[in-house]
Symmetry: C2
Subunit: 174 residues, 2 copies
């Protein structure tokens, strides 16, 4: 069964008791969270956030570089002034290298017509994956990237964190 058939059903119950239609667009806490797409992370629950309080940007690894477009829009148009970058233990981004992933994609494309193979190879060779090996260093580097980025507001408070998927705890790195 497609997962969407199930979530449509569950959404009916959610909408029936929904009472948050009045919330304004700008996040109440002026906070933006960057975290991983990992299925084991629910930052509303793990950080005790309520609907309407924070922008939540999620991508593979919780990369601040990947999140930059969203951060710029969030700060300039919607008034956020604090960024908390979360990476997490046991992250998929620590399980591969870019050359390995590129090889995998190219190998999956072997049976394709030549023109498609070429396009796939060109695209994947041009991609940056933001994988990392050292978890704590990856957080430090992301915070450094944001602090040095001239387009990220100087007045913004920026912190870096590790979420532990084994016990649900957060730890501040910087």
């Amino acid at each position: 069964m497609s997962a969407h058939l199930e979530f449509v059903e569950k959404n009916v119950a959610y909408a029936e008791s929904f009472d948050k239609g009045h919330l304004p667009v700008p996040p109440a806490k002026k906070l933006l969270i960057v975290t991983c797409m990992d299925a084991r992370i629910d930052c509303y629950k793990s950080l005790g956030l309520e609907l309407g309080e924070a922008h939540i940007v999620r991508n593979a690894g919780g990369s601040a570089r990947d999140a930059f477009r969203s951060i710029l829009i969030s700060q300039r148009l919607l008034g956020t002034r604090e960024i908390a970058v979360f990476h997490h233990t046991n992250c998929g981004m620590q399980s591969f290298t870019a050359p390995q992933l590129r090889s995998l994609v190219k190998s999956d494309a072997q049976s394709r017509p030549d023109n498609e193979k070429e396009e796939i190879e060109k695209t994947v060779d041009g991609m940056t994956f933001y994988e990392f090996s050292d978890l704590e260093r990856s957080v430090l580097e992301d915070v450094k990237y944001l602090k040095e980025n001239l387009l990220v507001l100087e007045e913004a408070k920026i912190t870096g964190w590790i979420y532990d998927t084994a016990n649900g705890k957060v730890k501040q790195v910087v």
Copy 2:
């Protein structure tokens, strides 16, 4: 007060009752959700998803293009085979145009030294913001982009949705 002081406190209570440390990395439903960073969206609740069931990618607008790196990693390394793209009513992405945002960023940089001004202008001129005016069309275009992308697995089921921030309801567009 910094928002992070508050979420650290709330995380203590979360970790105390945390019992999901055993969940595997690959999402149980082989599902990836793309949705907006908007503070009024909690797709675990609105779609009845449990921890461990789906990758959640969030960015300004819920752009599938912006999510492409994450989607590739999710499909190739962590086995997801269904993508649901959500955009939503009353989205910040409908409230500006790229030229307006570029002007705003440049105008904020007026008092900076010349070399910084130049770098800021160059960066913002090179950015794509993925803003949109027609909500339904933006969903159709994102699904089309994914279906035509040679690096997105052909076997993946891809659907497009609108989430209504006024009443919590989801509606399938495609």
